[in-house]
């Protein structure tokens, strides 16, 4: 990884404040192309999110995006990626938590309502569960679909079993 460096805690207000408030919660911080990524302990995501949203100097009130990356054959297997934005300070920050296959992550729907559909999409596409989500079911794929398409071990081109067998399904 070229150009990746440890985010300078002195320079970056968000990193500094988060470190002060939750010592040990941030496992690492990185800066790449002027974007800061903070890797957090999965259990701390809700507390840290609420703090980042409510602190008067930070005010990350807008959850732009929430998605996941399958780091296939590495452990923990999945990266959950949160893109936060502060409407007041016009700043962005990226939070990350790592989760092993089969584990659940606390849901941030109590912090930002918009996380509802994002988390459903992550559940649908990667099979990652969210604890405390009000309505966790598939969103894009049909109900009862087999598998999670954005996992790296899911084929790009394949047909469902009932199709291969010539049936019309139900």
């Amino acid at each position: 990884m070229d150009d990746v460096k440890e985010a300078d805690a002195e320079e970056n207000l968000t990193v500094r404040k988060l470190r002060e408030r939750f010592p040990g919660a941030a496992l690492s911080t990185k800066s790449f192309r002027n974007e800061t990524t903070i890797l957090l302990q999965a259990g701390e995501i809700v507390r840290a999110s609420r703090y980042l949203k409510e602190d008067p100097d930070l005010r990350y009130d807008f959850l732009s995006d929430l998605t996941a990356v399958d780091r296939f054959q590495e452990h923990p297997r999945f990266d959950l990626v949160y893109h936060l934005y502060s409407l007041q300070f016009k700043r962005r920050i990226r939070l990350k938590v790592r989760v092993e296959e089969g584990e659940v992550v606390p849901s941030v729907t109590s912090v930002w309502s918009t996380a509802n559909w994002h988390e459903r999409e992550v559940y649908d596409m990667f099979g990652i569960g969210f604890e405390g989500h009000p309505d966790l079911r598939r969103i894009l794929m049909p109900e009862g679909w087999d598998g999670h398409p954005l996992r790296k071990d899911y084929p790009v081109q394949a047909s469902p079993k009932w199709w291969e067998e010539g049936g019309a399904g139900d």
């Binding site: 150009d3 995006d65 398409p149």
Partner: protein, 390 residues
Amino acid sequence: MTEARTMTINMGPQHPSTHGVLRLVLELDGEIVVRCTPHIGYLHTGMEKIAESKRYQQVIPITDRMDYLAPLSNNLAYVLAVEKLLGIEVPPRAKVIRVMLTELTRIGSHLVWLGTHAIDIGAMSVFLYAFREREQILDIYEQVAGARMMSSYFRVGGLFADLPDGFEKTIRAFVTSFPHRLAEYEGLLTRNPIWLQRTKGVGVIKPEDAVDFGLSGPSLRACGIPWDIRKSNPYSGYEQYTFEISRGTHGDVYDRYLCRIFEMQQSVAIVRQALEHLPDGPIAVADPKLTPPPKPMVKKSMEALIHHFLLWSEGFRAPAGEVYQSIESPRGEYGVYVVGDGSNRPYRVHFRTPSFVNLQSLPRMVEGRLVADLVAIIGSIDIVLGEVDR
């Protein structure tokens, strides 16, 4: 004995007022919507999955097909993200052309919104006029990119080709005639009593709820939150243009209408400025590993031939790392998250599409309102299902 007070019906997935294959399960008490549950995914085509198996440049046509009313906006967000990952900046001429064309795209997209939204509410004629003007924009696309809708005109590192001869004349004709046409639409709608009755005070969302639900674009600005990424976090040189952000006060269907009308006027101003200050120079970065050599060179120089061959067979490699780039698309924050692993294909691409996120606040706007209002509200948040489902 208790009597069932509510009735549950399906609106969509095949319904003209849902603007695509959107299915809403409605629980109705007479004409009042008690509960509205959107079901999406009918147009899911696995674009993010496909993108992982394509080379970086090959992903561009996929982005066209997401928000098919604003293909160039999608192209722009994606190429900016990959350029950020590569750490390159395109030449000034390419930047200005990109801005000019994405602003025309914004007008074109808002025109489709205006036409279909008005037809939903019963104003037939606006549709015909709006599509007449959109035709001019599609002609411009055809002139520059060769395609009317799926233009794929932007490339990582610049543009597919320079502007053709006579381009300036076509654009000038459009920016001269369009403001008058826009005034005509306003004459038909802005103070029309039927239009006002159908839109004022309908589908209201409070600013704090709008932020909580991640609403962006004109729908957010209609609540009085002046957030426009072109101003707050400028990209592609937007800081050099003079324009204003639309802003509403009530957060209702009518204010969303006013915001989009205002945005079209501002987009015309930006196109004019871009045309005035269009610099000369190259339209792509001069990196043979990234952009193809001029065709005559390929026939003369061995080096150029090799670069050409490698670009088409292998593509270019991007460094390992992750970037997020968002732009102000006609519908709101269009973000692209790209993870590179050092190879010639993206490891992961995620599209944060405004329609997907904005649709989530629909139940909040319609619950407690009439079914007829629901039609007006769906139109007012301006979703494109291709982008919702990806």
